[in-house]
Amino acid sequence: MKRWDVLVEVSPRSEIADPAGTTVERALRALGFSGVTGVRIGKAIRLEVAAADEADARTVTEQMCERLLANPVIEDARIELRAAVAPESSW
């Protein structure tokens, strides 16, 4: 078994209103960042997974997303994986 560093990015689905994103976008524009659009605010979940290979690590992470980490009615989940670097690793 290898260990994998996993980053799950959960964001509101494109058709779902994101009041936090809208507010931050307005604030950025008020600060003079006039070119900014499409601000969406989600959450980043980092975890470590033990799995035989990358495909297994991805499958088990997808299952975690389906069951708990994201609500498919309102959220999309994007998964990034890389082999963990012992003893500690960081993104």
Binding site: P19, T23, N71, V73
Partner: protein, 232 residues
């Protein structure tokens, strides 16, 4: 013959005693249900009250739905027995898949805490007895995440099947189609953002909540009769 209504308490629930008191004042027997109990013996209806179940970590209701008691509540609901989720309880029921859609942060990111006018929008569900369609009630709301969303086919089904139980007058949170409460297709599971248990005395500004809770007592009694007749 008095009915017994169970009120679920998760870690972080905070409206359980208001709800128990209000139901008891109306003549129901009440029972506080633990989040780790796996059966509901002698219970005629279940209320999942407001609060912040399991801290609302990750998403509102996301952790609570995996509590052991939710397995029992799901079986109870699937048997056609009455289940009502108030505020955080509504959020738990959507996460558990007992009601469609989801509740997002309020439009404008404002926490709303106010008396709210709502309209009875559907008939023939577990909170409708004694109330007429289009009747207006005043019931407090108190939430940050009450902005109901669902996809277009789901909204169409809710409308076609008369599942929109309550609508806001002057939408306070951006909720789709002014939805303040819905029921499932079999009409025995209802979720609503307003708190009927907080509108049970003139001193609290409204007694309209009594009418919804009385309707639940009626539904609980009917459901109990049906369950007893099926058991014989």
């Amino acid at each position: 013959m008095s009915v017994t209504i169970g009120v679920v308490r998760f870690p972080g629930t905070n409206c359980e005693f208001d709800t128990l008191d209000a139901l008891r004042d109306l003549g129901a027997n009440t029972e506080l249900l633990s989040n780790d109990q796996v059966s509901l013996p002698g219970i005629d209806a279940v209320v999942i009250p407001g609060g912040f179940a399991h801290g609302d970590y990750l998403r509102t209701g996301a952790i609570a739905r995996f509590s052991p008691v939710m397995g029992a509540v799901t079986a109870f609901a699937n048997a056609g027995r009455p289940v009502v989720g108030i505020c955080n309880g509504f959020q738990v029921l959507t996460e558990a898949g007992l009601l469609p859609g989801a509740l997002r942060p309020n439009a404008g990111l404002s926490f709303v805490c106010q008396s709210q006018r709502v309209v009875m929008a559907a008939a023939d569900h577990v909170l409708s007895h004694g109330l007429a369609r289009a009747e207006e009630l005043s019931i407090p709301i108190n939430h940050f995440e009450g902005n109901y969303v669902c996809d277009e086919p789901t909204l169409q089904r809710l409308r076609d099947n008369d599942q929109i139980v309550l609508r806001y007058v002057d939408n306070p949170n951006g909720s789709l189609d002014d939805i303040a409460g819905i029921c499932n297709e079999t009409r025995n599971v209802v979720g609503l953002m307003p708190h009927p248990e907080r509108a049970t005395a003139e001193l609290l500004g409204s007694t309209d909540g009594i009418r919804l809770l009385d309707a639940l007592l009626h539904a609980a009694a009917e459901s109990r009769c049906l369950a007893e007749s099926q058991a014989v």
